[in-house]
Amino acid sequence: MTLASISEKVSAGIPLSFDDGVALFREPDLLKLGALANQVREQRHGDRTTFNRNLHINPSNLCVAGCPLCSFSRRSPEQPGAYTLSLSQAWDKLKARFAAGDPVTEVHVVGGLNDSLPFDYYVELLAGLKRLQPALHIKAFSAVEIFHLHKLFHLEVREVLRRLVAAGLGSLPGGGAEIFAPRVRQRICPNKCNAEEWLDVHRTAHELGLRSNCTMLYGTIETIEERVQHLLRLRALQDETGGFQTFIPLAFHPDNNALSQLPAPTAVDDLRVCAVSRLLLHNIPHIKAYWVSLGIKTAQTAQWFGADDLDGTVQEEKIYHLAGSEAPQSLTPAEIVHLIRAAGRTPVERDTLYNVVAQGQALPAGPSPVRGQP
């Protein structure tokens, strides 16, 4: 499996095999790998890099899962730092953004597996956000959370989704996939739903007409083979449903969690995962370089290693920052526009479903200095 033979397959539009994926992860020439991923990226997206204006709301960090990989969750309300937002506190975060003249097109809602909130809390949370901003897109609750609600309230997954959609749910984020291999899940997130359950939530969502994202957490204890298997399972579901919009590789950050003996992945690992994902996941339209996870500079570099999206302005990111991310808490639209231009790409503001919101002159003026370069 040489890079040249893989390159031929890529040019001919032939899906890559498991062995191809392993060979790509082992390819020593990072730039050749990057150039190939970039070729695919530019064929699909030209030199555009998209971003959106979004707000993160993490309603509660109380969580029954207790995953060793996590720096965010608390087991009990008595633990220092444990919190649950009241509905009005959650809604106020959105109000504050609009009041500050800093509107968003998307709210991203994810949180812990809280076992004491009523189902209505989730319904009202979404409905209230929608009442405040009817045009807002709500991307909420990872498959792990949906599965938790299904178990907790004895409702079919389909029913959980249907009720949330009725309250305003627009799409599912891609979190909680981690690594599908049971060997790894057992060690890093033993109490999360398993691979089949995770995939089934997304399958059901896609059947209901929802779009969703998907992720892979890399850099813990997984092998290259386990990464490739993970990516191929995502690709197989996409072949069935076509419902995934974006794949987001997530770098493991080791601070303040039970896996802190592990070193964080380095930038070369980050770029490699990004590039291999672009090449293996031929049927998933977008690859996102999530700057909160990668740091701004690697997210910029990743725009040449297969990624075509930079996520959004992201206010109040908690999960990665508690795990040691040194990226800023948020970026202004002008800063993102500048970052994308500085990476040699053309910025385009999108909404959650990748409709163009603004481009060219309509974007906020740059360049503007970037605060605290990570």
Partner: protein
């Protein structure tokens, strides 16, 4: 200079390409009078005034009673196996109780002694005449075989150790066996050009010279040809000078050399500028540059402006691989001590300085410094980088005292004072730059950092740092430093709105000086850090432009052996990726770095983080000193 210059040279096969043009009467027939002699006689003839210039062993150069100068650009060296300096025996090196040394070569003797000690071995060394050396190998007595004899020993001994190879794997630098050397002033730049031309002609006929020698000596012609093509290198580039300096320093430290000698060169003729080819395609240009062909300034501008990022990166990566085929990425443990922030230069891009008398202005006390130096030693540091503001309270005597104190109390190399600081001291004391440098060297200065270069273009300097030394002054200080045998680095800070021509002009000035002096060990660039300074960010200083500039520098600076990545300013993530865009060194596991830290960059990583980054990029980490000599 109408008198003929008397040259004396060894007649070993490896010297033939050096003397070829002269011997054949193709070069300097009117000017040179060439004689051949035994290696040790070459130095003696120069010492006795019987010859003006000798192609002499490096050890003889270093042991000379008078200070000699070396002809730039020409040497007899190897980077790996040499085949003509071999230790042989019927038992392994570790089991040799005695080693017979060939009396004809002091350099090889010293090398054998150094490497033997380096393995913790202490056999007896006995001198034997050149023609009896092979017969001296009996039982547990080994022998050092040198010269052409080494090419004939196939199969005669059970254990053969190539000392060129052993040196290279130990130190990571070439070994220099011999150089042209003579008293200061005996050769003109025209003579140097003729000597270089003689070698150029010899290199063209290397294969032929090797085959002819083999036929004369009744051995396989391929043997002589391969020896000259694959084992011996006849250039004296920055890497060879570092290798020779490392050898002389280690020999001095081991008590094998009485004085610590640096390699000091005669003045070199001005380099010829490459002619731009007739507009080759970008692909051709990149392929040529990746193969080591020299780019013209216009070609550099074109690649910088037009080449796709990956193509530029891949060409730079290929070039890096050709220069550093061992897949090693080096780093150093040192400490950047900014001994004062009081500064009168007031550069608009600097957020570190305070005017003298300002409440936040400081100069570190001896006690504060001592504390930092102790910590540096405890943390495994081998060097301090001393840089500070232009503080009118500090005299040359202050630095001399400081350096003497540091040298007397701490085992640390002093990499100190940028050309800006040195040029200021020269003005303040009304002394020539050379005198300032000589006094600093006598007090303990080991090497000079390449700071304050920014962009070597006076239009830009007037705009961002009007009180700083001019581009010419910066270059002149470095020329003087190199002339004294000091090794220095070179830097570039970009992102001040400079044009591609100005950026390439900077690289070109560095390349031209390096052609003449070979005194730079490394080039380091980074982008302007805007935060907290008085200069607005008007330029693209993102990671992608950094990678582009670095890759271009790798291709353009064909005479710079090392390119450091600047993780301190660009971040470890970009620094790591930059190892695939031409970088071969990860810089310093710095203990502190005030200047950049004040401008908002606060990266701190440990040596183990650095090693992880290096391994993650697919390289083997090694620790080095300022000469890029492995020390782990």
């Amino acid at each position: 200079m109408s008198q003929r210059l008397r040259l004396t040279a060894v007649s070993f096969l490896n010297a033939r390409p050096v003397t070829y043009g002269i011997e054949q009467g193709l070069v300097g027939a009117e000017r040179f009078d060439l004689r051949f002699a035994e290696p040790s006689r070459c130095a003696a003839a120069v010492a006795a005034g019987e010859a003006d210039l000798g192609l002499m062993p490096i050890a003889s150069y270093a042991a000379s009673a008078e200070e000699l100068r070396v002809v730039p650009g020409i040497g007899i060296a190897s980077r790996g196996p040499v085949r003509t300096v071999v230790l042989v025996g019927q038992v392994p090196w570790e089991e040799m109780t005695a080693i017979a040394l060939d009396g004809a070569s002091r350099t090889s003797q010293m090398l054998a002694r150094l490497l033997t000690r380096g393995r913790g071995l202490h056999p007896d060394f006995v001198e034997v005449a050149h023609d009896q050396i092979a017969d001296a190998v009996v039982g547990t007595r080994g022998a050092l075989i040198i010269g052409d004899l080494g090419l004939h020993i196939d199969g005669r001994f059970r254990h053969v150790y190539d000392l060129g190879e052993k040196w290279h794997s130990l130190v990571g630098l070439p070994f220099v066996y011999a150089v042209w050397a003579g008293r200061p002033g005996v050769v003109s730049t025209e003579d140097v050009a003729l000597l270089q031309e003689s070698l150029r002609l010899g290199l063209q006929r290397r294969a032929e010279i090797g085959r002819a020698w083999a036929l004369d000596n009744d051995v396989d012609p391929a043997l002589g040809e391969n020896y000259l093509l694959e084992n011996i290198r006849h250039r004296l580039t920055s890497d060879e000078i570092s290798g020779a300096t490392a050898f002389l320093a280690r020999s001095h430290q081991a008590g094998l050399l009485a004085k610590l000698m640096r390699v000091r060169l005669f003045d070199a003729p001005a380099p010829l500028q490459p002619q731009p080819r007739s507009a080759p395609s970008l692909d051709h240009l990149l392929a040529d540059a990746a193969a080591g062909e020299r780019l013209s300034l216009d070609e550099g501008v074109r690649l910088y402006s037009e080449a796709p990022l990956f193509d530029l990166g891949q060409a730079a990566d290929l070039r890096r691989q050709a220069l550093h085929p061992e897949s090693v990425v080096t780093y150093i443990i040192d400490r950047n001590i900014n001994y004062t922030n009081a500064c009168t230069t007031c550069c608009s891009f600097c957020n570190f300085h305070r005017s003298p008398g300002h409440p936040q202005a400081y100069t570190l006390s001896r006690e504060e410094l001592a504390q930092k130096l102790r910590e540096t030693v405890e943390l495994g540091g081998v060097q301090v980088l001393l840089q500070g503001g232009i503080n009118p309270d500090l005299s040359l005597a202050y630095y001399q005292d400081l350096f003497r104190y540091m040298k007397a109390n701490f085992p640390l190399a002093i990499h100190g004072l940028s050309p800006e600081e040195i040029s200021y001291l020269s003005q303040r004391e009304d002394l020539p730059v050379r005198t300032v440098l000589e006094r600093l060297v006598a007090a303990g200065l080991d090497s000079v950092p390449g700071g304050a270069a920014e962009i070597l273009d006076d239009e830009i300097r007037r705009r961002i740092s009007p009180k700083k030394c001019s581009a010419d002054t910066w270059i002149d200080v470095m020329r003087e430093a190199h002339g004294l045998g000091l090794r220095t680095t070179a830097t570039m800070v970009f992102g001040f709105g400079e044009s591609p021509q100005q950026l390439l002009g900077h690289l070109d000035r560095l390349r031209r000086l390096q052609d003449q002096t070979a005194g730079f060990t490394a080039f380091i660039c980074w982008s302007f850090q805007a935060e907290g300074t008085r200069l607005p960010l008007t330029d693209d200083t993102g990671s992608l432009r950094y990678l582009r500039v670095l890759a271009l520098a790798r291709l353009y600076l064909d005479n710079f052996p090392n390119l450091q990545v600047s993780w301190v300013t660009m971040g470890p993530a970009v620094g790591q990726v930059a190892l695939r865009f031409g970088g071969n060194d990860f810089g310093s596991a710095m203990i502190e770095e005030n200047v950049v830290a004040t401008a908002g960059t606060v990266f701190k990583i440990s040596a183990s983080d650095i090693e992880r980054c290096i391994r993650g990029a697919g390289f083997i980490p090694r620790r080095r000193n300022m000469r890029y000599e492995f020390i782990d």
